[in-house]
Amino acid sequence: MSMDWVVLIPLLPALAFTVLAPLSRAARARLVPVAVAAVLGSLGLSIAAFLAVWPGGHDAVWQGSFTIAHIGDRAIPLGLALEPMSAIMLLVVTVVGACVQVYSLGYMHREDRIGWYYAVLSLFTAAMLALVLSDNFLGLFMAWEVMGLCSYLLIGFWHEQEAPRLASIKAFLTTKVGDLGFMLALAVVYAEVGAFDFATVLHHDWAAGTATLVALLMLFGAMGKSAQFPLHVWLPDAMAGPTPASALIHAATMVAAGVFLVVRAFPIFEVSGIALTITLWVGLLTALLAGLLATVQHDIKKVLAYSTISQLGFMFIALGAGGSTAALYHLVTHAYFKSLLFLGAGVIIHAAHTQDMREMGGLAKKLPVTSLAFASGSLALAGIVPFSGFWSKDEILTVLLHEHQYAAFAIALLAAFITAFYVARLWFRVFTAPTQQKELHEGHRSMLAPMVALAVITAVIGFFGPTLGDFLGHEIPWPALGTAAISTVAALGGIALGWYVYGRRTSVVNTQAIKQRFPHAYGVLANKYYFDLTYGYFVVGGYTALTRALATFDARVVDGVVNGAAAAWRSLSAAGWTFDGRVVDGAVNGAASAVKAAGDKVRTLQTGSVRGYQTLVAGAVVLLVIWILVKGA
């Protein structure tokens, strides 16, 4: 049986976009079901594709390509390939995409521009699907760029307001900085290999130096897309976009693209040891620092945003330690539970009409379904058995131990502890703390259904780890009891601390006390390690400092010279006065009137006369024809 229907998986949402985009606002809003139907169709086809690939292994079961261009005698093909890794990613993207689209029906139904929102959401899903299916780096890059555009459009969806507009520009520019690295990497790859498809590029006989260059450039691109330190600054701001869009972009798919790229290019990273080490430390730094930042945020979406950065850091840790399968595993589980958390946050924001956790509290009673689903996601994020995050995080820790990266292991464990702590902080503040609001409504059914689906997946997917490993042709063992125990202790410790600080009945909103007790640490965290300030300082501040230094120099040295010269000049000028009046003035005035006369002459060329212009054009054409004749003869 021909498998060409695989093409439809990215094509359906893309078609939905082309149907919706050119229409008027009202017509788009009416055709929103088209977008939802398209993504559901993609979901069905992705399940079919998954079954077709089953039971997995290494090889692609389907491949199709066409040539987009010829450069000299080299053809540039663009192709799609269905193999185990892309099959799994297809499922992740379409499940999350479908959940988000169904959820948005409820979440965005009062929005005027819901049609445009759905159009961009569809295009975004299409791009991500094309990215995971692509069998070459060029196609991957194209889809990658389309996603950059879509995320810009979605973050800036409420572009009437200042913050989303600035956030969208910031996200676009920051990821663009990373994209530059990716683009350079592609140039090096093409110069070295002369092709873009994975099979040729990855089996190329790489020299260590070139491999390091390519790997580091690609890592830079991935850092931009996956919001790793120091290119993470865009993601927290990107929370200005609609919450379901955050679930799709900033939890499940777009930020996953960076990790996915590194997984794809992993053989190149393996050739270059340095690149792996750098990846590992970027991941560690990110996981730890972003985790710490998440502990001081009051905006519920920002907590989740920093948590996303931190979890992406975990994936980079796995990659750096050589466990690309573990990274992919965590990518999959994280996509499900993080989008679940974002969707839950959306319901909470809708119910509480605020994003500030200090104004929430006691939502567990009012929002029973949401709180249960949220609990599933939170436990997964904290890494409590048997929720999905536990298994994949444990897998990463196992890889670290196996590679004897003990320092990294310790830091990762600390990050896991912090993760559990901020999860507990979020949970107790939002759901159990004293109620502060009376009017609270559970979300609409179309919003709850996707969350329940995601919650169930989050709860059970962990048991399929080894199956997933077989499917990918790698091994994902059950966690060893020792590591499992250590990580569980860390997670439980974090939760316990969170409970101690935020969960006890006696504790009130005690941020102030913490702030007073640890003023410096709190200040550093509250200012996000001064990253935004630093960028501002070096770009803006550096310039200011330079100008100030120049001003000083100006005042001391230049002014002195000038003043001295001025005094000398003053005496001279008295003598020169007469000369001035006669000769110089005459010359200056003469020059001025000459310029004026010339200007008057030139001005008449611009007559505004249509006939004058066409005569000019025709005359020029005649001259051209005659010239061609003379040359030709």
Binding site: T615, A618, G619, V621, V622, V625, I626, L629, G632, A633
Partner: protein
């Protein structure tokens, strides 16, 4: 059919076209000029027939002689306030004449220089049927795009001339 008959027809029609074009330039009355243009168009349609382009001849009559001439006449009438305004005196524009003459001269030189003289009119000519088949197979997409161009032009024209004073 002898070769003489088409040749005679060609020269007659060529003369008619040139005569019409020159008359169009020398008349001072815009309405007369429009009628002369119509004559040139019809002569060209005859030339197309001589050159075995039946379809084009038909289109020429329909589009130029029919639509364009009528459109022009309407415009002339709409923009004339008095009957006398139709007559526009004009001096001979020597500059324009020089440019046009230079251009034509260059073109004639080019034709003499580059065009193969001895090429006889090839005998085989596919008919209007083959033309239609080609038009709706090979040239299908451009043809549809062209129809879109016309539609857009139509809408644009209506919008520009639309009722309220923009």
């Amino acid at each position: 059919m002898s070769t003489t008959l088409p040749a005679v027809a060609f020269y007659l029609l060529a003369f008619a076209a040139l005569y019409g074009a020159i008359s169009m330039m020398s008349t001072r009355n815009v309405v007369h000029a429009t009628v002369w243009l119509l004559e040139v168009m019809l002569a060209t349609a005859g030339l197309y027939l001589v050159l075995d382009a039946e379809f084009l001849a038909l289109v020429q009559v329909l589009v130029y002689a029919g639509a364009v001439a009528v459109l022009t006449l309407f415009t002339v009438m709409l923009t004339l306030r008095r009957r006398e305004d139709a007559v526009r005196p004009f001096p001979t524009a020597w500059g324009s004449l020089a440019i046009a003459a230079l251009f034509t001269g260059a073109m004639l030189l080019a034709i003499r220089g580059f065009c193969p003289v001895g090429v006889e009119m090839p005998a085989i000519v596919p008919g209007i049927e083959a033309f239609g088949r080609e038009l709706f197979t090979t040239w299908m997409v451009p043809f549809e795009v062209a129809s879109l161009v016309l539609l857009v032009a139509l809408v644009g024209a209506v919008w520009w001339t639309g009722g309220d004073d923009r």
